[in-house]
Symmetry: C2
Amino acid sequence: MDTSADVAARFRANGFKLTPQRYAIFAALDGNSTHPTAEAVHAEVIKTLPMVSLRTVYQTLNEMISLGEIAAFDFGGKSSRFDPNTAAHHHLVCESCDVVFDVYPDAVAELDAESAHGFAVTAVEVIFRGTCPACRLAATDVVPQN
Amino acid sequence: MDTSADVAARFRANGFKLTPQRYAIFAALDGNSTHPTAEAVHAEVIKTLPMVSLRTVYQTLNEMISLGEIAAFDFGGKSSRFDPNTAAHHHLVCESCDVVFDVYPDAVAELDAESAHGFAVTAVEVIFRGTCPACRLAATDVVPQN
DNA sequence: GCGCTAGTCAACAATCAATGTTTATTAGCA
DNA sequence: TGCTAATAAACATTGATTGTTGACTAGCGC
């Protein structure tokens, strides 16, 4: 997505009203690279607008998805993760703390061509799973050698 | 996984009893490349053993996962999909009918190297999304040109 | 500024996959 | 043969997400 102001303008252009709740949700996602769950977005939003309901967060997230402002991903956890980064990219998921990072592997372009079976491939999604630096440190405890 | 007989042997070697229910579940998965849900496995199993409960199917699938005989995947649908193919491979998912095919893109090997961020990457998962041949035909109705 | 109407909240309930529980019965295997 | 695991059945629960309804609020076009 673009800045929260841009998203707000596009919401209005699509006949949606610009409410403080929606704007707070846009703002919570603007530049957010933590791939938050709906709950996490809600937690962030109520820091500035304490009365916003989780229900409204879910609704607004779905509206944003419909308008293509954000994307939803499912990395195997219980909850969906939301991502304001709509550029082509892929993900690094930490198996122990669920942190998600964006990655932009060039070689993905070579993958498309190989997909056969008569499919019309519209999207390629790459998920790298492993252990993030913080969890690697925690795992080795006080002895982080490599 | 190997043949149902091999899996059965390994179950017994691990102190599990070999029940008709379990064997029927092994058999339903043996050589099954449809990536079935638990419900689908159950539907297949009760063709030969009508009294098997869905509960038992879930339990046995989890046991098989623990023993590394099968893998579970989540492609974004509601239910998990189970895969007896434990060799390194990736997936083609049809967005309209949920069919899943196995693919073996060579270029995946080049992807590992690019993952930075200090992660210790243990697995790479590639999902190609698109439309399967059958759905492409259905979409174009009577006029399948290309 | 007014008023229409969308948006929101609150408090429900429902859904759906998956798992926990308990009890009684069955059957694998040493 | 007998111990014990496995199963079935009939519950209940969890947890994310969505539907509903009714009352209140506020955005925005005029």
